[in-house]
Symmetry: C2
Subunit: 206 residues, 2 copies
């Protein structure tokens, strides 16, 4: 068995109220990235996981634009799309990506209400494949879709969705001081009673 | 080890071009469901996986309304939200759900551009947890959001996103004849060169 796939219990594991698969328990969004590069085959595996996501009418509305640190100018270009607050930590990640959604169905050009939703489905698979390889993914809403559109000539029929940092989690002490606590802060979620309903709205499933 | 977690190679496994974790390879969207009920603890695990999804500002905009076959009237009510074409097969599933998105941030009521995207992230985790338990998830765009809103008193600030069938995959010969081929048809996806770009739009990552 490939030892990269072995579960590594970590203080970042989710404190679940019910059993979940270790891949889901282990996934989290690091702010601190190590300088270790991501191997080509691992980057392809992560994107392959996105490829096999489900989508409405199998439209596969997701696109990913990738910039690797090794290509310095390309990396700097993508980094420049992020808000300054995110640049501060994401500049250390070995890979940056942008997810992009095709807003209409290819077959008939009608609006796809599920375009962003289905990009979410694909990116979740990407993130869990990253977790399987010991990698971390941190998605950001804090970037400029307009700048991304201009820099990458993204057509009007597509919408830039999220910026994505990918790499091996690093030591929080490499982060600017004000970000360290955020990297290691408690992971919290609403209990199921607040979002799982039955019968009618706001009535918890019993 | 719980034998429900053992990989079961199947003809439905994705034919990937690059290695992916077996959970991602095994996930598919069955049309045929067995009558075997879903245990309470498994349903909770599946929803717990959604709970631990990432989201913009940790907003967790996802809500799920659940109807179990055992509660016949409730089940029929949710089934009535589906378009007839989907009712034909989804009526056999032991669990139906609706995913719903909160469209604005709770903190400041500003529009959340990533609301549906983040529901997708959560539902992908739900689907992979289902796969880990040998269950299948089939999401549907084919339902009436208006009817769902009315039946479940879904507030205007939320949007019904997708209907979800959950259960153990069943034998395709229990399906209406015209649906059998669809349940077992080839699983196809665009190659990475069509959705993974670098440098500029439509230029494949090399």
């Amino acid at each position: 068995m490939d030892d990269r796939h072995e579960p590594q219990p970590s203080s970042r594991d989710a404190s679940t109220d019910h059993d979940v698969h270790e891949l889901i328990r282990r996934r989290w969004s690091p702010l601190a990235f190590s300088s270790q590069p991501v191997a080509d085959r691992d980057l392809r595996s992560v994107l392959e996981a996105a490829r096999w996501g489900p989508s409405c009418f199998n439209e596969q509305p997701w696109r990913y634009i990738v910039a690797r640190r090794e290509q310095e100018a390309e990396f700097a270009r993508m980094l420049s799309c992020l808000v300054e607050k995110n640049q501060r930590w994401a500049q250390a990640a070995p890979v940056l990506m942008l997810s992009v959604a095709r807003l209409a169905f290819a077959a008939n050009d009608r609006p796809n209400r599920h375009a962003l939703h289905d990009v979410g489905l694909a990116t979740a698979q990407l993130s869990l494949q990253a977790a399987a390889l010991g990698l971390g993914v941190h998605q950001m809403a804090g970037f400029s879709p307009d700048r991304a559109r201009e820099l990458y000539a993204i057509p009007d029929s597509f919408e830039p969705v999220a910026a994505i940092a990918l790499g091996y989690p690093g030591a929080p002490d490499q982060l600017p001081e004000d970000l360290r606590a955020r990297d290691r802060g408690a992971r919290i979620r609403h209990p199921q009673a607040e979002f799982v309903f039955a019968g009618t709205w706001d009535t918890p499933l019993s």
